[in-house]
């Protein structure tokens, strides 16, 4: 079980470090992605495009290093849920938006939703492990 948790922690963390780094590299493009979802007020788009990739990279690294793992796994799982919600919302409204997930121009669709759902499952395992670990050490 410990191996499963360690693997999920490393994979989930690495996915966010990778995705966050790509978004950091093209923050203006990521801002355009966020704007397209039409979920945030236009004035908050740039701020979100600056801070979200940093949160992804910092929490991803923390999770991989097993430091502040509970906080990092909760933040990243919540982010993943938000992304899935935003995609579902965009699809329900028929918006033709790029996912903005890993840079590039992949359109939002069933495929991106399923991929993110799988990543979320890995994240939930990582979160469960992070909390279980604390119990073991301190219980």
């Amino acid at each position: 079980m410990r191996t499963v948790w360690m693997l999920s922690r490393l994979v989930f963390g690495a996915v966010f470090v990778y995705a966050g780094a790509l978004k950091m590299g093209d923050a203006a493009g990521f801002a355009a992605n966020i704007f397209n979802y039409q979920l945030l007020p236009a004035k908050m788009v740039y701020g979100a495009a600056i801070i979200l990739p940093a949160v992804e990279v910092v929490c991803g690294l923390a999770l991989m290093a097993n430091t502040l793992a509970r906080g990092a796994s909760v933040v990243l799982s919540a982010l993943m849920l938000t992304f899935i919600g935003a995609m579902g919302w965009a699809m329900a409204r028929g918006l033709d938006v790029d996912c903005g997930c890993f840079g590039g121009t992949q359109a939002v669709g069933r495929e991106t939703l399923i991929r993110d759902a799988v990543i979320l499952v890995v994240g939930l395992v990582a979160m469960w492990g992070a909390f279980a670990q604390t119990r073991r050490y301190e219980g």
Binding site: M24, A27, A31, A42, Y46, G47, I50, L68, V75, T134
Partner: protein
Amino acid sequence: MLHQVRRPAWPEFVVLLIISVMAAWLVNVGRPEPLPWWADFTAKKVEETTRKGLAVLTPAEAIAALKADGQLFVDARDPDEFAMEHVPGAVNISADALLMGLDAAVSGLAKDKPLIVYCGNLACPKSRDLAEGLKASGFSALSVMPEGMEGWKAAGGPVEGQ
């Protein structure tokens, strides 16, 4: 007796947030052109268009222009998007023409024809890119509608297509 002590998780959120904000700030100031933390994305996109020396039309102005004679709308999106819906009477010159050879794509157009270029929405760069290309190849009466098809529909503009 089982006695379980658990550190609360919330200080971890605070620490991660502080580090994230600091990292975000550092990365942003390190960019050649730092992004503003708080700025109207819409206004910024329009400003980028005017900065390139292109005239800008709001959807309402563009709707008024549709009713005037002699204006030609140029849809810079891909052919399949154009086929789905477009401004009535618009021609489709995909921004890809910039790579494939713009001169061939605009061979039938007079250089002094008033053109209004648009694409999907504020976030898409195609209308600006194509208008710049058209300007460079000698078209003189160019305008861009940065809000694109989305803004056009939101302002109640008529739509033609499948």
